[in-house]
Symmetry: C2
């Protein structure tokens, strides 16, 4: 009797599966306008997933790498990780009275980020060391997690994690549905991204590559910990991106997505070999819905036109920028 009931249920399931497989497929990229960029993506994915053709790539080798800042989420008026750093400076200031008069901290505490970051790389490094190191990896993870759930963009009022690009979320899902493994390869901090990338992008920690500080294993009162040290370990930008990809993934991507000169070498690495390969640049052209700028992407845009990389014109090619807000 139970057997018959179960069989009955299974037949219904089978009929439902059969029916679903005969409905027309929904557009997997609804936020993408009907542009060359969208066509190029779909054409590439169809090509590498079609068995028995010379361009076919088995699922194990379908590796796609995505820059983060400016490619998966916005990066203006300054990198979002810098907002994290300044929020940390403010939170830690009571324990550091000397910061009131010491740059770049003094300017950060006055809210004058322009002066704070005028010191360029040196100022950034000083802020990162003061705010990103000296704690255990577990403590840092908790700090970032909380920040990612509460910190808001000064201009849009959205959570920073709500300033991800809806078309790119669809693209990530579309590629995964076609057997791709999606990786982040960002100049941003690897441990600044990992606490929220699975929730926001569906990308698990082990598929996030980024810049890092050194860590040290030690036993603290019989509890094993990893301490984040005030020393840069690796910069995952420009020529560092192929190095980081090789170290963490060990396979060469067949598709890479970026938006700036920092992504050039990653796109070259992904495309500079035989077989079907794909490279895409997000071009920030939408002053009204996002930002419009070429600064920092001049060479990448030049390379794109020379090498046939696909360029997304945000203003024209994307129907929406950010996902609808969750209530």
């Amino acid at each position: 009797m139970i057997f018959l009931q179960r069989l009955h249920f299974l037949i219904i399931v089978c009929i439902l599966i059969f029916t679903a497989s005969h409905l027309p497929a929904a557009d997997p990229l609804p936020s993408w306008g009907d542009s060359a960029a969208k066509q190029n993506i779909i054409e590439f994915v169809n090509k590498v997933t079609k068995k028995g053709t010379p361009d076919y790539v088995p699922p194990d080798l379908r590796i796609a790498t995505f820059d983060n800042d400016g490619t998966l989420w916005s990066e203006k008026p300054m990198y979002f990780q810098m907002y994290f750093a300044v929020d940390r400076v403010k939170a830690l200031a009571p324990q550091h009275p000397e910061w009131q008069t010491r740059e770049p901290f003094a300017s950060v505490l006055k809210g004058d980020y322009k002066t704070a970051f005028a010191g360029g790389e040196k100022a950034v490094l000083e802020l990162v060391v003061a705010t990103h190191t000296g704690m255990t990896t577990t403590e840092f993870e908790q700090i970032v997690k909380k920040w990612s759930e509460t910190a808001r963009h000064p201009q849009t009022g959205r959570l920073f994690t709500e300033m991800v690009y809806q078309p790119m979320l669809e693209l990530l899902a579309y590629m995964r549905a076609n057997g791709f493994k999606t990786f982040i390869v960002s100049g941003g901090g690897i441990e600044f991204m990992r606490p929220w990338t699975e929730r926001v992008y569906g990308i698990p920690p082990q598929q996030v590559v980024g810049s890092s500080v050194k860590t040290r294993f030690e036993m603290r009162e019989k509890i094993p910990v990893l301490i984040r040290l005030p020393e840069v370990d690796f910069i995952d930008d420009k020529v560092g991106k192929p190095v980081g990809i090789n170290s963490h993934i060990g396979l060469r991507p067949i598709a890479a997505f970026g938006n700036s000169d920092g992504d050039i070498q990653m796109l070259e690495w992904a495309t500079g070999t035989k077989g079907a390969r794909f490279a895409l640049l997000v071009h920030h052209t939408d002053a009204k819905r996002e930002y419009a700028y070429n600064t920092g992407a001049e060479q990448a845009l030049k390379d794109a036109s020379e090498k046939g990389w696909t360029v997304v014109n945000m203003k024209d090619d994307w129907n929406v920028i950010y996902p609808p807000l969750q209530k």
Copy 2:
């Protein structure tokens, strides 16, 4: 009509699935004798996979890390990667006449490995630099791949890749079947393992963590390459193992498997937190079928008995050591 034929076929499939699900489950670890080690493994896996219990761990967090040398394959009379190094010295000797009189190369070329490696770490490093660097990552991958398919162990005559432990192959498959992601975390070279770990262990390149040399991205006649540099980047051993795990996986393992003092910190890292955790040491006790030694594992064995880590007694607990040879 086609609809009815398909439906018919689907019903048969459903019945087969239904029937199979009611057969008694086959032993997933047939090469494991009925010992405490086997019971501990199965108990742990059952515990963390049972929904609605306090020990339940969701699949995303089921991370298991495995040492390689002495844990997944043999490591005697010397680490197999050292056989690779000496094979490379012999292959490259015609281009290096100076090696005939220069140590440690001269002793390697005479087949006197004992003298060659008497120089300890310095000699090993010199051999590794001479044989593992100076080429592109792609070239090195091809060299390792070919070696892994042809090089044989001097005592057993087996391919080195056939000197993997059958019980551990079953354990890897069993854990994966229970939703675990299996990672190698080895002191061996990351790029020495990646070309064959998927074929031999079912572990893809992005799930291999190991020691590494630095690499540099450059364009060679418009072709992007990564050059392997004669400079150590990272040593994935002892305190390096938790560091490598954190860098590459970004999650803490809930189960770890090793065999020597080099694995202590990895096992501490996996078990040193709340929740159901598992640590296992392979103890080499089988002089007849494999090797019997405590050297290099003295502290680990002591820790195991103090901390309740499971210890495999190879001689008694494993019905077979190596897989049957493929014809």
